[in-house]
């Protein structure tokens, strides 16, 4: 059990009459890159939101390192070591890139209201460390030249990288990436896959929701396929590519 970082058990959520996620059970091993694929409306993002605490499940459980975190609030989930990015990038538009990443240090720092108002020496020191750490992460992703740029002024691709940097600043054990390649061109997508591999090699487990098959098939260790809220296949990319159910939902019956 030690090797399983995240597990969902019969996770279920419906909106009105629509069963967005139906009894999905899966395991994400430590150090893996796992992808969740499926056609539009298959429930991928809902599954993410159920794990991250943005949406509460109607049934089922989420376990992180064997601990029940079902229906925990997003901030509590984040503090535990699960970071996420969003399908449509959600940076803090009027803050600089540097500040955006500094916000990511929140769960790893302590200063509260009183300490902030009094700005005591140790509070100030902590903030300087936050600044340095954020810069370090920006350097690492090659974003240091944009540090003082207002986030809203960056190109779409760069914004996505900054969102990555911000999520990494929380020092997560698990990173949830919601369609990281959406809106990127093929070169950017290639860079992105290198980046995800690099992040994984540093010990961050990744769970990715993605449409881009080239990305999914090249970098993931395991793939889960959802269709209409249900898990229809799970396994290594090579097996998924040959799975007739998967081919049917993606390409139609005549190809299966």
């Amino acid at each position: 059990m030690d090797s399983v970082l995240l597990e969902t058990r019969n996770l279920h959520r419906s909106f009105g009459g629509v069963h967005a996620v139906r009894d999905v059970s899966m395991k994400v091993p430590v150090g893996a890159i796992k992808a969740v694929i499926g056609p539009n409306g298959a429930g991928k993002t809902t599954l993410f939101n159920l794990i991250a605490g943005t949406t509460t499940p109607h049934r089922g459980e989420v376990l992180f390192r064997g601990k029940r975190i079902t229906a925990w609030k997003p901030h509590a989930v984040a503090s535990l070591g699960i970071a996420r990015t969003f399908q449509t990038t959600k940076l803090f538009p009027q803050m600089t890139v540097h500040e955006n990443v500094m916000v990511g240090r929140h769960p790893r720092t302590r200063a509260g209201f009183l300490a902030g108002m009094l700005n005591l020496p140790h509070t100030w020191r902590e903030d300087r460390e936050t600044q340095a750490k954020a810069l370090e992460i920006l350097n690492d992703l090659g974003l240091e030249v944009y540090a003082e740029e207002t986030a809203a002024n960056l190109s779409f691709g760069r914004q996505r990288l900054v969102e990555f940097a911000r999520a990494l600043a929380t020092e997560p054990a698990l990173l949830l990436l919601d369609e990281p390649a959406a809106g990127l061109n093929i070169y950017e997508t290639k860079e992105l896959s290198q980046l995800i591999l690099k992040i994984r090699d540093r010990g961050v487990t990744c769970l990715i929701v993605e449409h881009d098959m080239s990305l999914v098939m090249t970098i993931s260790d395991e793939v889960v396929v959802l269709d209409q809220g249900q898990k229809i296949a799970e396994g290594p990319p090579s097996a998924i590519q040959r799975n007739s159910d998967v081919i049917r939902i993606y390409l139609g019956d005549e190809h299966a």
Binding site: A52, T54, K73, P74, H75, A76, A78, S79, A83, R84, F86, K90, L91, F92, P93, Q94, M95, E99, M102, V103, G104, R105, H106, P107, T109, R110, A111, G112, F113, A115, G116, M117, L118, N119, P121, T123, W124, E126, D127, T130, R166, A167, T170
Partner: protein, 373 residues
């Protein structure tokens, strides 16, 4: 030294306060100081509201209510005559602890009442308590709903004040004793204390500015701004958005109560006109004119506009003027008055003076270092 660099403008402002005093003294207009002092206490409300609106992104149309809770609490506690209980042991023990003060009212009658310090602390605690109780359910609301809920709170406080005998109904409460701070310092509206109180009020405002500036440049300040800009993202980064919004709500309520309590001591009285909805709207208008997320703008406008209002410049159209200001700002200067290009000159004066101050301080430190080494 970098830790303190956000404080240079505060030092510059302190110098401007002294200069203003000298100018008023030279032109024989020291009577203006009374209204400046009052405006400074109103500015405390505005500073707190600026933290809530400009940084945490939450509106409150009930801040006059918190101002009133602060003011009325000290008014009731410091004027309630305890002389009938003078023989009782609890009063005796309170007296021996120094929590009771003895003074004479307007008719020369001896009054025993709670010490203003006790009343002050009680007022802040009570305000914090009420702010938590109101905030817990209300701060979950967003936008218009939050505006309406806080508006309702303000209205309730207004009707309570107007209806309850304890609060003097339409007459309010008057004849408060002076608030003796330490040494000879006291919050007292009488003419001999005018200069002292001018500086006391400014000290309170600048202290609030230092604390608030520190806060917005801290981890918490960043968290608040992030909540304002994308609550969902902030939440996903481990920020307990609900708790942070609630804490800011309480903090700004307590700042309003500090303003209310001190101004009530200064005026020696408080009445229901301090609690009207239009007062709350006025505070919101001032924060908007100042530029929402602009503490300096809010503070300067808080002092300036309240001063003009207290001097009667707006005549009987006082409330109409503040309503018009709110509409005007929303239409023509949503970033605040100081962001309008033609008015940038005001900002320039502020920046230049703070820069000059920075130079002076830096010069002094190098001089000291050289002469020691």
């Amino acid at each position: 030294m970098k830790r303190l660099c956000i404080h240079y403008p505060v030092l510059a402002a302190a110098v401007l306060v002294v200069l203003l005093h000298l100018v008023l003294a030279a032109t024989d207009k020291t009577f203006y100081m009374t209204q400046i002092t009052m405006s400074a206490y109103y500015a405390l409300v505005v500073i707190g509201l600026c933290l809530l609106m400009g940084y945490a992104g939450q509106i409150s149309l009930g801040h006059a209510g918190f101002f009133a809770i602060g003011g009325y609490t000290v008014a009731v506690l410091t004027t309630y005559n305890l002389s009938p209980y003078r023989e009782s042991t609890w009063l005796g023990s309170l007296r021996s602890l120094g929590l009771i003060v003895q003074w004479q009212d307007l008719y020369g009658q001896e009054v025993l009442s709670l010490s203003p310090w006790v009343a002050f602390v009680a007022a802040l605690l009570l305000t914090a308590l009420i702010a938590v109780a109101i905030g817990l359910p209300v701060i979950r609301l967003k936008g218009h709903y939050l505006a309406m809920a806080t508006l309702g709170f303000g209205l309730i406080i207004y009707r309570i004040v107007l209806g309850a005998k304890l609060f003097g109904q339409a007459d309010g409460i008057s004849n408060l004793p002076a608030f003796h701070l330490v040494g000879g310092l006291q919050v007292n509206g009488r003419a001999p204390f005018r200069v002292q109180n001018y500086y006391l009020a400014w000290a309170a405002v600048l202290a609030a500015m230092v604390l608030s500036l520190n806060l917005i440049h801290s981890r918490v300040g960043r968290a608040l701004r992030s909540i304002h800009q994308s609550e969902e993202a902030a939440h996903s980064l481990g920020i307990d958005t609900y708790r942070y919004k609630l804490a800011t709500f309480v903090l700004s309520a307590v700042l309003a109560a500090v303003g209310g309590a001190l101004l009530t001591h200064y005026n020696g009285s408080i009445g229901p006109s301090e609690v009207t909805v239009m007062k709350s709207v006025r505070y919101v208008a001032i924060v908007a004119v100042g530029g929402m997320a602009n503490l300096w703008g809010a503070m300067v406008m808080g002092v300036l506009l309240n001063f003009l209002s207290l001097r009667g410049v707006f005549g009987s159209f006082d409330d109409a003027v503040f309503g018009a200001i709110l509409i005007g700002v929303m239409l023509f200067a949503p970033q605040g008055l100081l962001r309008v290009p033609r008015l940038r000159g005001i900002l320039f004066v502020g920046r230049a003076s703070s820069l000059a101050f920075q130079r002076v301080v830096r010069g002094c430190t190098t001089y000291v270092r050289r002469s020691h080494g």
